[in-house]
Subunit: 134 residues, 2 copies
């Protein structure tokens, strides 16, 4: 395995199947969805519980990796911006960040609230939300 | 190129060289550091300015990818937890998330505040911080 190769940990199951009509962010009307994990990584979920807020990292496989500037929110009236100044899915390493709440856990399936990732999107990582201590 | 392969966008230059003595989080005494980008991706930074808060994604190359449970904060008195319930660097896809402030930009170099990544760590992505609209 190449040392910079992502291992898919599971997939998103979601009613969202079309990128053009999907919400841009989770708080813009994204539906609840399932995270379905590979059996081999389930030990990594020990301690995750309903009510927890987590950051799900995904691999946005339908994104373009050769794009460095975009019109934000696909609106041509918005001036071109570097992709690193936007949350565009199109970027050299198309990793999505999604902050969601865990609603329930059942074996290898976790129900989450307001996830804007498309059905079939690979799960790359899950991390707890850390709140700044300031 | 494998479709799940990360392209390094640049590297971190930091006085931190030793994982054992590095702070666990950026707000725990991490130093200022430089992000040094590959010339090929500089267009992606258009619009990023000093004072911006961004999330830097890194590839934690010194992490162990075969670990699914850890003692949080490397303290054996803490009960084992799944890595997805911790910010441990050791995890199947060792991607680090670092929220930092851009202090200055000079060509391909960006100075950032309080970055806990080690010197030489690959940069995977940069995203603007989005504040919840609630």
């Amino acid at each position: 395995m190449n040392e910079l190769e992502i291992i898919p940990l599971g997939v998103v199951e979601s009613p969202l199947t079309d990128a053009a009509s999907a919400p841009k962010q989770g708080d813009e009307g994204a539906p609840d969805a399932w995270l379905v994990f590979e059996p081999a990584v389930l030990d990594g979920l020990q301690g995750v519980e309903p009510g927890d807020r987590v950051i799900v990292l995904t691999w946005l496989d339908r994104a373009r990796r050769d794009v460095l500037r975009v019109h934000p929110r696909d609106d041509l009236s918005n001036p071109l911006q570097g992709v690193f100044n936007t949350r565009s899915a199109d970027r050299p390493n198309p990793i999505g960040l999604h902050e969601v709440e865990i609603l329930s856990l059942d074996g290898r399936r976790a129900r989450v609230r307001n996830l804007e990732a498309l059905d079939g999107t690979a799960i790359v990582d899950v991390k707890p939300v850390l709140r700044p201590q300031r």
